[in-house]
Structure formats: C-alpha cells, structure tokens
C-alpha cells in the first residue's frame, strides 16, 4: 500500500477517533514516524478534530472549578497513599478504580456539596494530624522518661560523690590533726619496744605533759587473737593506769589514735586484754614497753 492509498484508507481518521487497537495504533505511529506525508496528514486530522472539539467548548459552572480541582487533588493524594511503593509506572496504573471509588459512593447531596471532597480531605488531614500528634506524644513521653531516669542516676551519683567528699574531708581533718600532733614541740615521743613475747613489735606514744593528751602511733604489732584487744597503760610511779584500748585501725598502723588523757606517767606499756579492756593489766601478755 503506498502512502496515498494508506492515507485514503481512512485509518488515520480511525486513529484520531480512537477506534484502533493498541497494536494498530503502533503500526500507524511507526508509519507516521517514517513517512513525513503520513505524519503531516495525521497531524491535520487530529487538529481538525481538535477544531471540532473546541467549537463545542462549554465553560463549566464557576463553582465546579473548586470542586473538580479539590476532588482531583484528594484522588491523587489517596492514590499516592494507596500505592506508595507501586513498581507499576503511573502510566499503566491508571486510576480508573480509585476514581470510581472516589465518585460513585457519594450521595447526590454530597456530590453536589462544594465542601464534600474538601471535607473528606480535611478529615483525612485531621486523622493524619492526630496520628502525628500521638506519635509525637509517645516520642516526647519516652524522652521524658529517659530524662527522668537519667536525672535519678545523676542524683544518686551526686550524693555518692558528696558522701565520698565528706569522708575525704573527715579523713583530711584527722590527718591534719595528726600532723599537728607530730609537728608540735609540746609532744614528747616515747618509743615502745617489743618484749621477748613479740620482739618485732614497735609503737610510739606521743605525750603532751601540759594538756595530758596521749596519742598512739603503731609501727608494727602482731594481730591480737580473736576476742582480744591491745590496751595501753601508763605507768605512774610503778602503778598501771588505763589509757584506753586500741581500735583495729590503730593496731594495723593505719592512723594515730588519741588515747585517754594521762595526768602523769614515766613509762607506757601495752598488753593483750579481752575485748573492751581490763581494769588491771595482764602482765604475761606485755607486748611493748618504753620509758619517757
């Protein structure tokens, strides 16, 4: 079939009027692409029908503009939500279905109501807002809970640090006091040497004759047997005077211990006594002794 025959066959009119199948349309398009005459004729047929269509133009009622555009927008948004991950290109996924769903279930008064599609759009927007706000609330609540628990942890930590600090300050005050004792010229140092029972035992007494204050500084003492404690005695004119029992920390040599005030003494000695101390020293347990 030559070009002229093809044009006169009427197939271009059928094409323009939409009578052809997809396969037939493609054949026409292929021919038009390779034959300028056919392309020109086809264009003319289409434009002629366009003239015919435009001659019948009919301005829609003014109120329709908003309704149709709102309906269109609601439909494309609904479609976008219905098929957000569609692999099918929009070309083939023509929205006949969604649109029909959109329009047919409407009651006549709803369909004629300008606010119908807009209302549904607003409703959808409200629901979306509500969901978003719920999500935001949940997120904020979770964060608030986390913050509250962080705060509790921080407070615990802070009070722990504070008590450590207090303990440190107490220790520091004690050390300061000990240092004052050791540096003071008013204190006399009395070295207590180990007896035959405990040759390696060694301790010092710091005695202030003016204030009568007595401090004990243990260098080395064997651990006392269970239920026993070391007790310091002042010997005043050969008579033993109780100067107090040693705390465990003192026995271990960790720190100085202030003992009972002693009015007068020429020597100091330590014995092992039952816990809490004795009224009179058990001389068989004499561990250290030293003269002033």
């Amino acid at each position: 079939m030559d070009t002229q025959e093809y044009i006169e066959s009427g197939i271009l009119e059928q094409y323009a009027l939409g009578e052809l199948s997809e396969a037939e349309r493609q054949t026409v398009e292929e021919r038009a692409a390779t034959h300028a005459d056919i392309a020109r004729e086809l264009d003319q047929v289409q434009q002629a029908l366009g003239v015919y269509a435009q001659a019948h133009a009919e301005t829609p009622p003014a109120a329709m503009r908003e309704r149709v555009l709102a309906g269109w927008q609601a439909a494309i948004r609904a479609d976008a939500q219905n098929a957000p991950r569609s692999i099918v290109p929009p070309t083939t996924a023509t929205p006949d279905g969604p649109v029909v769903r959109q329009l047919t279930p409407m009651e006549p008064e709803t369909a004629n109501n300008a606010s119908g599609p807009a209302f549904r759009w607003m409703l959808a927007a409200s629901v979306a807002l509500l969901l978003a706000s719920g999500l935001a609330n949940f997120v904020l609540y979770t964060r608030w809970r986390d913050a509250a628990s962080d705060l509790a942890i921080a407070r615990t930590e802070q009070s722990r640090v504070a008590s450590v600090m207090q303990a440190s300050e107490r220790t520091l005050a004690v050390r300061q006091q000990e240092l004052d004792v050791l540096r003071s010229d008013d204190f006399r140092t009395v070295a207590l040497a180990g007896t035959a029972a405990a040759p390696s035992a060694s301790a010092r007494v710091l005695y202030n004759p003016k204030t009568k204050a007595v401090y004990l500084d243990v260098r080395n003492l064997p651990a006392p047997p269970t239920g026993k404690q070391y007790q310091l005695w002042a010997l005043d004119n050969g008579k033993p005077v109780d100067a107090g029992v040693l705390a465990a920390a003192t026995t271990a040599g960790d720190s100085l211990q202030q003992m009972k005030d002693i009015a007068s003494a020429q020597a100091f000695a330590m014995t092992v006594e039952p816990a809490g101390g004795s009224v009179n020293p058990t001389l068989s347990t004499l561990t250290v002794v030293g003269n002033i």
Binding site: E19, A48, Y52, A57, E58, T59, M64, L69, P90, A111
Partner: protein, 185 residues
Amino acid sequence: MSVNHPESLLPVPEELLVQRLRAREEAAMTVFYDKYSAALYGVILRIVKKEEIAEDVLQESLVKIWHSFTSYDASKGRLFTWVVNICRNLAIDKIRSRQYRVGSRTQPLEDSAALRQAAPTGFQPEHIGVQEITAKLNPEQKQVIDLLYFGGYTQSEVADELNLPLGTVKTRARAAIKVLAKLIR
C-alpha cells in the same frame, strides 16, 4: 480581571505547562484547568449529556491525565489532542455502561439545554463556533462526525445505525474532517 496580574491575561505557553505537569507541579493543574476546562467539559458534556456526570468525568480525566502524564509524547501531537482523547475515552466508557445504553442512542445532541449557550475557550482566541462549523459541514457529514466524535460510535456502528454501507460512512467522515481541516488557523 485584575490589573495587578497582567501576566494572567497572557496565554500560558503550552510547552511551559507541559514542563510543569511533567515536573508533577500540582499548581500547574489549576493552570491546566483554566486553559482547557471549557473545551474538555464541552466535549464531555456532549458525550454524557448530564452536567453532574460530566463533572465526574472531568475530574476523573484530570486524575488520569496527572497519573499518565509521563506517557504524553509531545512529538506525537499537541497536548490538547492527547487530553481530549483521554476525556473522550472516559466519557464514552461512561455512556457504554449499562444505565446509559437505554434510550439515548438516537436522541439528538442539541436537545440538552446546557448545550445552547455559546462559550469562549481558554486557549484559542480565534475561536470557531458551532454555527460556523454547522454552516460548513453538510448535514450528512455532521451526523456522521457527531456519532463518531460525541457518540462513541465506531465507523461500523455508524454504518449499522444509519443503514449505510461502511464505505459511505468512511467517505463522509473523511470529507467532514477535510472541511474541518480547512478551518485550522
């Protein structure tokens, strides 16, 4: 029309509108509506004959145009040709559904009161009216082209409807289109 917006008086170039629609710019659809709604609504109304149905079809058409815009190929024809065919197809689908089949076949198109008012179109200042076309086409040509374009008939269906040989229908259709082609300005 407002003096503050002189640009709205100028016709929107088709290429620009195509670009914006291709870019999925929703605001472009409003421009599209203002430019083409009269021509498209006129065609749809001629086919479905009821204003509320025509409105539905126009809205469906906008959705379809939006979704399938990637398949519009400017090299195959003008935007109007493409969109008017989408509208025609949807409108014809509508009248082919059951409730339209009954009783509307031979009803003259001019019976609808809504069709009497003449309307300007938004995109062709040198508008050709129905009167001018009716004056140029002879009644036989007009009858055939009306059934083909607004009736949703195929050429064979027109032949059946009018009790004419298919060849005669083809000849009249081609003649009518030739007359119309001479009106292209």
